[in-house]
């Protein structure tokens, strides 16, 4: 069972396996496929990117803009011969040979959704046999993409696809992950790329959300209602006056398939063929009948029909959008008729609930880029994130970090605030989300929300001695404070760190700490609890480090951060030394989820950690029975 959340209600098949592959192996795969199939894909020809047969695997382009024409010509060709006939005496009909089986590389998610729509339309009732033949014999290989400002696939829910393909190639790390989507796809790998097939499965990548800048202001499900109320709207007349009737919108649309049927005779008149050619509902001739009547005689009516068909009729019939938001129609429309703009203007007028303040806005992360990755230990990595805007926070606060498709989790900010756009978090690979974070590289994107919580108020700490007590991963929070202190070291007195962990590997930032200690910036005392090994660090618990501690509690602030069990011993030790309850700060973390004090998951008795903590002065939590393990 793949650890995937259900996306858009579509089930992921249990046969999905993800394997890594490099470009060279994919070339070999293509070469092997070419011996049995006709392989088609995007390649550069005469300075343009065109879909055609691939003769040289290295010419296959797997990263191309949405501008490239759709692959519908391979499933529903223009000028397809329905049959041949011979004249003279009895008319003889000969069916056409079927075309060879094909592998179609380079289906963007929108294209794959478009195929589902073509299936709905052409296979219902009496299934179109030519389409069926081509469809069944075509192997679909998807590839991911970057939207441009004409795409509005996010609004249509077609920017990501979980099924409907045999294989899907994901760009990853300068290389690829191949996702199988069907038993046929798996068999193809086994037969034509055994080296790839033999590889063990990898954890899946989360579904890539496109975040198109262009889009609908209403939900696409409401479009039928919106359009119903707009049948006589003057906008159709306006569009009709702009429209050139060139049919580019239909010719390029991956879900358009309307056609005309006519006969072609051979020159010698002995025979001929009946063919079907792509038509456009924007042409004059589309609805003309013998006798001269034209049932959709104005361009306004024709454009209206196009919008109604894609966004209302088809959706109501098949419960699926008829438009995949690929933007091809608007990209190449000389009159710049743009669907989302048209639909938004209709929606706006209908006094529907307007999405000016989009619900869920506060849950939408902004995108941050991974600026650097530093390996701290076998299971821990430091990620440096670059946000879009400068960020201000107090040490000890946290960010909610998202990996889309896997979820969102809180991470303490491990760096000090410096007024810039970057901050650091430490990630231990423990679950799906953190393992996914570990797979990311510089340049990858994550979602971030925050900063949330209450941290250390530096103004309150200035002028004092600082005693930092850290256990295990608790150091991460205190690192933020420590870096902030070190940035203005002269404003503080003595700075002592008591740090204990299970084993030397678990001592995070050991080299940094030693450097500061040797530089006399920090009095750093370490202890590890595991026996064994010949590392020259003292054995014991953090509490043992209190023995030789010589401090003046009245001018010292203590900050404690560690596993829950640690607080019991250290707190009592601190009070024994003579610390005031106001001068002891605790890092109490719970399962912060929303960060906004709403979800309730981080409650300690009657307070929310995300609102009031996680940095609390002891005086604030002494009455909370759940705060500290007694």
């Amino acid at each position: 069972m793949t650890p995937f959340a259900h996306i858009s209600g579509e089930e992921t098949t249990s046969s999905q396996i993800w394997r890594s592959a490099n470009r060279g192996e994919i070339d070999l795969f293509v070469r092997s496929l070419s011996t049995v199939y006709e392989v088609v894909g995007v390649q550069e020809k005469r300075g343009r990117l065109l879909r055609s047969r691939i003769d040289d695997p290295t010419s296959l382009v797997l990263d191309f803009p949405p501008r490239v024409h759709s692959p519908k010509k391979f499933l529903f060709p223009n000028g397809e011969k329905l049959f041949r006939f011979r004249l003279g005496g009895k008319v003889l009909l000969e069916t056409e040979r079927t075309s060879p089986p094909r592998v179609i590389f380079g289906m963007h998610p929108c294209d794959l959704h478009a195929v589902k729509i073509l299936d709905d339309c052409l296979l219902e009732g009496e299934a179109d046999s030519s389409y069926r033949a081509l469809r069944d014999s075509a192997i679909l290989v998807g590839v991911d993409c970057q939207p441009d400002d004409h795409c509005f696939c996010t609004s249509m829910g077609t920017d990501r696809v979980a099924d409907g393909f045999d294989l899907f190639l994901h760009h990853h790390d300068g290389s690829y992950l191949i996702q199988t989507g069907s038993p046929r796809g798996e068999a193809l790998l086994l037969r034509h790329a055994p080296r790839i097939a033999a590889r063990p499965g990898e954890p899946p990548l989360p579904l890539q959300l496109k975040q198109c800048s262009n889009g609908l202001q209403c939900s696409s499900e409401t479009l039928p209602t919106v359009l119903e109320g707009a049948y006589d709207h003057p906008t159709w007349e306006e569009i009709g006056n702009l429209c050139l009737g060139c049919g580019a919108c239909n010719l390029l649309c991956p879900t358009c398939y309307c056609f005309n049927v006519h006969d072609r005779l051979d020159l010698n008149l002995h025979g001929g063929e009946r063919v079907r050619t792509w038509e456009s509902c924007q042409f004059d001739q589309f609805t003309k009948v013998a006798g001269g009547d034209n049932f959709r005689g104005t361009q306004a009516e024709r454009q209206r029909h196009r919008f109604f068909r894609k966004h209302k009729y088809l959706r109501e019939k098949h419960q699926r959008t008829g438009c995949v938001g690929c933007g091809r129609c608007s990209r190449e429309c000389l009159s710049q008729i743009e669907p989302a703009t048209v639909l938004n203007s209709l929606f706006k007028e209908q006094a529907g609930p307007v999405k000016t303040q989009m619900p869920g806005l506060e849950y939408q992360p902004q995108l941050a880029e991974i600026a650097a990755v530093r390996i701290l230990s076998e299971r821990e990595k430091l990620l440096r994130l670059r946000l879009a805007e400068p960020v201000r926070f107090d040490p000890g606060t946290f960010m909610e970090v998202s990996v889309f498709g896997l979820g969102e989790a809180p991470f303490t900010i491990a760096s000090a605030p410096d007024g810039g756009r970057e901050l650091e978090i430490v990630v231990r690979a423990a679950g799906n989300l953190t393992r996914a974070l570990h797979r990311l590289k510089t340049g990858d994107q994550v979602g971030v929300r925050g900063p949330f919580g209450c941290g250390f108020r530096m103004a309150d700490l200035v002028g004092s001695d600082i005693l930092l007590v850290a256990g295990g991963r608790g150091l991460i929070t205190l690192r933020s404070l420590l870096l902030a202190i070190l940035a203005r070291r002269e404003e503080f007195g003595r700075v002592i760190l008591l740090y204990g962990a299970r084993d030397p590997e678990s001592l995070l930032f050991h080299d940094d700490l030693m450097a500061w200690h040797q530089g006399d910036q920090l009095d750093c005392r370490l202890v590890i609890s595991d026996s064994g090994g010949d590392w020259c660090i003292a054995r014991g618990e953090v509490s043992h480090l209190f023995r030789d501690l010589d401090i003046a509690p009245h001018r010292t602030i203590a900050a404690v951060s560690g596993p829950p069990g640690m607080y019991r011993s250290t707190n009592s030790l601190l009070f024994q030394i003579g610390f005031d309850e106001d001068r002891v700060f605790l890092n109490l973390e719970r399962h912060m989820k929303c960060g906004l004090g709403k979800c309730g998951k981080c409650q300690i008795n009657d307070i929310c950690v995300c609102q009031c903590g996680p940095i609390f002065p002891y005086s604030k939590v002494r009455h909370l029975r759940e705060a500290i393990e007694r």
Partner: protein, 245 residues
């Protein structure tokens, strides 16, 4: 008896007739089906009557008008072959200069320059039954029209614009590169050959059925053309409507 067809030419370059000859191996097949009774460029024969007369070139001087009328009389069907015969073609441009300018420019200060007779498409003088547009015509279209005529069917030319053929050929739109193209109002049927060849559509096949002039005009002005320039572009191969003359 095989249908009798003839080829005639007036003021033109004979490129359309040459395009028929360029059908090469299909020409042999064609010759099995029809009898070419007259084809001045490659034949010394002649004769009446004709079933189909293909006439290339524009007409101007009086004796040429007479000759055209004689051809019209002796043929059942008359087909305008190519832009010069159909819309005036490139000859149309002389329409926009005065007679004296034309004479002076071409023949200078000669004693007796030839008279200027403005060149017009065939339909200004005789009834034209069918047409083959383009400069030059498209050989395949010629065969299709001929076949339709032999079968007694009215020939059908595409009514939509060259844009359709450009899109089917997956060509990038010239307007995107800041160039002007007459494709959106020009009649398709040439396979967007000029755009394929790196050039642009100059509208040599005449207008599509029901050209959407208003939005096209707007697009041209958006691209910075003045009204004069727009008219100039259009007129390269097409004589304006009768009212305009």
């Amino acid at each position: 008896m095989k249908p009798r067809i003839g080829f005639f030419d007036f003021a033109g370059c004979e490129g359309c007739q040459l395009t028929v000859l360029n059908l090469e191996d299909r020409l042999l097949e064609l010759l099995d089906m029809v009898e070419i009774v007259e084809f001045r460029e490659i034949s010394s024969g002649g004769g009446d009557p004709l079933d189909i007369a293909f006439v290339e070139g524009s007409v101007g001087p009086r004796d040429e008008i007479e000759r055209l009328r004689k051809i019209r009389k002796k043929t059942k069907s008359l087909v305008a072959l190519g832009a010069c015969a159909d819309t005036g073609g490139i000859n149309s441009l002389s329409r926009f200069q005065t007679a004296s300018t034309l004479q002076q420019t071409v023949y200078g200060e000669t004693a007796a320059p030839p008279p200027v007779a403005l060149l017009r498409p065939l339909h200004d003088f005789v009834a034209v039954d069918h047409r083959l547009p383009g400069c030059p015509i498209d050989g395949e279209e010629f065969l299709a029209v001929l076949q339709a005529l032999l079968l007694g069917r009215p020939p059908e030319l595409p009514g939509y614009s060259v844009c359709v053929e450009c899109k089917l050929a997956e060509l990038p739109c010239l307007f995107d590169t800041g160039q002007i193209c007459l494709g959106p109002i020009a009649r398709a049927g040439c396979g967007a050959r000029c755009v394929q060849g790196g050039s642009r559509c100059r509208g040599c096949r005449g207008e599509m059925e029901n050209p959407r002039s208003n939005p096209y005009y707007r697009i041209l002005t958006d691209h910075g053309l003045t009204e004069e320039e727009i008219r100039d572009q259009y007129r390269l191969f097409n004589l304006p409507e009768k009212e305009d003359r």
